[in-house]
């Protein structure tokens, strides 16, 4: 069994460590530092986060997405004809994102993701995965003032994602994940458009809920990631053999609660999954990004996860 994470990592540690990103963003607001100085802080903190994930023993890490305000706008906000508007609750969380408003035909424009990957890729000591919002989730989270058709919106988001992924791949990205908390009925079309021609290892991961059966229709995907903390129905899909010969992302560590999992709690669930999927086809992970937790709890959860997996 291998271990991974979903994408986000808590941006600041608690006392006595310094809240460098929080401080730097305040300073930027008051024009006390420049964007270059802010970027330096992001880079140093990214290194620190990646080291934490590596030291915890995670096999496939991310860069922690420290520059991201939320899961949506770092990508969606940069597209042509998209503006960011008011705060909206992010699914069933007590976190918010500025809602992207679609005012016209969307086209890919440069985001910071490639630049961030170039830095992280150079400095990661473990394999590095890039985590992006999926096209259905983007279409759901945005406010449409132009297309009047959910499918057309999802399609253009998928095309923009495809462009981003091709550039990332060219720069050396070997693992790319699309995150789809929004459970759409329109699989697999827009996932296929998004991943078209992408040769990196392709992950499709959902969380917060059960997925619909059509989630498994995405044949172009190599790893199907599910939320086994919240989505109890997801266990049933394995019985039906819907996974096929794909690998399984096992979101089994609760990324939204500080309570630590125990061996007694996790082991039977893994055994249950093992009835249908062999261990070497599993990626064990928290079920969500870790930005819902305090930093030290996230770190402890990852260490705990790796410990439990070693024992199994």
């Amino acid at each position: 069994m291998k271990t991974t994470v979903i994408g986000s990592y808590p941006k600041i540690p608690n006392y006595p460590r310094e809240e460098r990103i929080r401080k730097a963003l305040h300073q930027l607001d008051k024009k006390e530092i420049t964007l270059e100085q802010l970027e330096k802080v992001f880079q140093e903190e990214t290194l620190e986060c990646m080291r934490e994930m590596e030291k915890a023993g995670v096999d496939l890490i991310t860069d922690g997405q420290l520059r991201w305000s939320d899961e949506i706008t770092y990508f969606a906000g940069r597209l042509e004809n998209v503006e960011l508007n008011g705060l909206t609750r992010f699914f069933n969380n007590n976190t918010y994102y500025r809602q992207p408003v679609i005012n016209g035909k969307m086209k890919w424009k440069e985001t910071g993701i490639l630049k961030d990957f170039e830095f992280a890729g150079k400095n990661a000591k473990k394999e590095l995965k890039i985590s992006l919002p999926g096209p259905h989730t983007l279409a759901y989270c945005a406010l449409d003032k132009s297309y009047e058709d959910f499918k057309k919106i999802a399609k253009d988001f998928a095309k923009a994602l495809n462009k981003e992924m091709k550039k990332l791949e060219k720069a050396g990205a070997k693992y790319i994940q699309l995150n789809e908390p929004f459970t759409s009925e329109f699989y697999p079309n827009f996932i296929e458009i998004a991943f078209k021609g992408v040769k990196a290892k392709r992950f499709l991961w959902s969380y917060f809920y059960d997925v619909p059966e059509t989630f498994f229709d995405c044949e172009c995907v190599e790893v199907v990631g599910l939320d086994f903390v919240e989505g109890k129905k997801n266990f049933d899909y394995l019985k039906k053999g819907l996974l096929g010969d794909r690998e399984l992302g096992v979101g089994i560590i609760d990324g939204r609660n500080t309570k630590m999992e125990t061996f007694a709690q996790i082991e039977p669930q893994i055994r249950k999954i093992e009835d249908y999927v062999s261990c070497d086809m599993m990626w064990i992970s928290p079920n969500t990004g870790l930005d819902f937790l305090p930093r030290e709890n996230a770190d402890a959860k990852l260490k705990n996860m790796v410990e439990i997996i070693k024992r199994i």
């Binding site: 808590p10 941006k11 600041i12 608690n14 809240e19 990103i21 929080r22 963003l25 305040h26 305000s69 939320d70 705060l87 609750r89 069933n92 969380n93 007590n94 976190t95 918010y96 994102y97 609660n257 500080t258 309570k259 930005d291 819902f292 937790l293 305090p294 930093r295 030290e296 709890n297």
Partner: protein, 326 residues
């Protein structure tokens, strides 16, 4: 249970919070750095509360609050004063905003009244109708980490049982107008049943008027089910989305009273009397005039002192004007 009140048509009220004067903001900061003691802080909290009570009285608001001068975070205020919690680490809500999210570490237990003293003071000073206000059990559960109870429902019910004691304390102190703040209640529609059960624990058997304040909800998913919540009035926000919310309620009769939010608490813009009157009239597609209490969308604590005062004055003047038509 609805209580008989002596109120005009379109009673004006508040959601609860007001902005803290500078001297209090400074004092809270000093207190947190242990540069000021509790008694000194308390004196300033009372001074600020008196200020807002006097303001609401002078402005002619029909049902007032104590201003919530001793409250910071609406969950931590209660969790810090009850047993079974510990302070958590910093968690990000959005952008560069962080808060300490408390953790349930053991059985949740009421210790002693938390809101009654301020309520009594406001009542004695003003002689007006004063709302008692507390955070509801579902929102407490949803906005806390839970390391003790086996399920969210168990945590919610336990919180309800503890908070019932606070409601009882307010009632025993003479309060008959009690508001439960439940901004999280529409977050997980699949949990609305135990949210109702939990709130029933708070309100059952008491001859008081219960209000429930819910802001920024996802109504499509829980309406009309939310009408089963055991309260007499829902206090909602309408102004901030240009009254679009009314569309959700057209599909089924709104069988309770409404606290009708007519000023946007996130905007610096002071609504005019004309705008407020027009906003109230838009509500007539869903509500009868007798169903409506008029107030701001939400608490005013994010506004400047001047903005908060001007917005409240605009509401009171607008309603005075509107009452002439009836």
């Amino acid at each position: 249970m609805n209580v008989k009140l002596n109120l005009p048509l379109f009673p004006t009220t508040v959601v609860g919070s007001f902005p803290k004067p500078d001297y209090l903001v400074e004092a809270r900061s000093k207190y947190s750095k242990k540069e000021m003691d509790e008694n000194e802080l308390k004196k300033l909290e009372l001074k600020a509360s008196d200020f807002w009570v006097d303001f609401q009285t002078k402005a002619g608001v029909n049902i007032i609050s104590d201003g919530e001068m001793d409250r910071g975070d609406m969950v931590a205020f209660f969790s810090e004063r009850m047993d079974g919690f510990k302070q958590g680490g910093l968690v990000r809500s959005y952008g560069n905003r962080y808060y300490r999210k408390p953790i349930i570490t053991g059985p949740v237990k009421f210790k002693e009244p938390m809101t009654v003293e301020m309520w009594k003071r406001a009542k004695a000073r003003s002689g007006k109708y004063v709302k008692g206000i507390l955070t509801g059990p579902y929102t407490m559960m949803d906005w806390l980490f839970n390391e003790y109870y086996p399920s969210r429902k168990d945590a919610c019910i336990a919180l309800a049982e503890a908070l019932r004691s606070e409601v009882q304390a307010l009632y025993d102190g003479g309060c008959r107008l009690i508001q439960i703040d439940e901004p999280a209640i529409s977050t997980r529609p699949e949990e609305i049943d135990f949210a109702i059960e939990a709130n029933r624990i708070l309100t059952e058997g008491l001859e008081a008027k219960f209000f429930m304040h819910i802001c920024y909800g996802d109504w499509a998913k829980i309406y009309p089910k939310m009408l089963e919540l055991p309260v007499d009035q829902f206090d909602l926000e309408f102004a901030n989305r240009n009254y679009e919310l009314l569309n959700f309620f057209k599909k089924h009769p709104f069988t309770k009273e409404v606290g009708y939010g007519v000023v946007d608490v996130h905007s610096h813009n002071i609504e005019t009397e004309e705008q407020i009157i027009a906003g109230i009239k838009r509500g007539f597609v869903v509500y009868k005039p007798e169903q409506m209490y008029i107030d701001p969308d939400c608490g005013l604590k994010t506004r400047s002192l001047e903005e908060a005062q001007k917005k409240m004055e605009a509401i009171v003047e607008a309603v005075k004007e509107l009452r002439k038509e009836y």
